[in-house]
């Protein structure tokens, strides 16, 4: 019988435990609690399952998100094939995705020092915005916002063009930092 836990471990603490952030004494306490508690153990299993799912989606190139150089370096060191397009403000690039690419990355260069908030806006060719990534994390020292694209979607996409804009946002005001054009073509080997 799995009795209800008298002192359930919070999700935040479970995450700290799973990620090795607790001191040895607290970790041992939780080790023992989890071995004896079906309810908390099931909650941890759910967390571990989500973590594994996120990992699987990233490995499949199925997530668009903003990452850092350090993260990309670790992916490359782990043997993942990363295709990267570096674009200066106002620049354009011809791009594609190869069958063996694990990750496709756009590096949107811009002066980021001192900015509070940066948004990424994606536009179709008439210039209509269709997606806005608000308040993206960025490393000002790197001088670029690094976005992983969805490899699964792009691999199946026909030739086309996407424009991306980067905005500095402060309160209600926004200032264009740069516009970037991606001319996508399917991998030449594709029938």
């Amino acid at each position: 019988m799995n009795r209800a836990c008298a002192s359930p471990i919070t999700l935040a603490t479970l995450a700290e435990y799973w990620l090795g952030e607790l001191d040895a004494e607290r970790e041992a306490e939780l080790d023992e609690h989890l071995l004896g508690c079906g309810e908390c153990s099931a909650a941890l299993a759910g967390l571990a399952e989500l973590a594994g799912g996120v990992r699987a989606l990233v490995r499949a190139g199925a997530v668009r998100t903003v990452v850092t150089d350090a993260f990309l370096e670790r992916l490359a060191a782990a043997g993942r094939k990363v295709r990267e397009y570096r674009v200066p403000p106002g620049g354009s690039v011809n791009c594609t995705v190869a069958p063996d690419d694990d990750l496709l990355v756009s590096r949107l260069e811009a002066p980021l020092a001192g900015l509070e908030q940066v948004d990424v806006v994606l536009l179709d060719i008439p210039g209509k915005p269709y997606e806005r990534l608000r308040d993206v994390p960025f490393d000002a020292k790197a001088g670029a916002v690094v976005v992983t694209e969805r490899v699964d979607t792009l691999r199946a996409a026909p030739a086309g063009r996407v424009r991306v804009q980067l905005y500095a946002v402060r309160g209600e005001a926004e200032r264009l930092l740069g516009e970037y054009t991606f001319n996508h073509a399917p991998w030449p080997g594709r029938g």
Partner: protein, 192 residues
Amino acid sequence: MQDESGQAELDDAGLARRIAAAGARGHAAAEAELYRRLAPRVRLYGRKHLRDDHAAADLVQQVLLMTLEGLRAGRLREPDRLVSFVFGTCRMVVLELRRTHARRERLLGIYGGDAPVADPAVAPRLDHDRLQQCLEQLPERERSVLVMTFYEDAPARAVAGALGLSEGNVRVVRHRGLQRLRDCVYGREAGP
């Protein structure tokens, strides 16, 4: 003749007492129920401390065998202290598995094996399409932090520096994102 029913009503210590009382002849129903409950918990302990599904599956086998043998042989004098016994056994076996696992990794490095893990007890239950939708719905900052955290189970300090956030800030964003993601994938009633 053993009572084959009623195992599910007993708590873990109650099952341990029943197994201990049966002695060397064993109590198959109580042992099966205790195994069913403890195996996923010990596997999680193994995944946490060994970061390897093969090694975690080995841990389950060894720890539960030692636990059931200990109960049958009367070595576990206080069955109420079952969890302490399991915990102590887990710690001991993890140390041994770390040594053998390091040896196995060296051999895999030499001979290049990369066999997929096939463990029916950890078969995927997660709906990845649903997870992807839920991940896409998160605010960008939360999605970034969750991706960089869980891709390699990185602690807050590893994620914080490069994002220009403090460790505390990463924990706050991570917690918010995790809660939202869990509610979206499993429903709001899920867990603490």
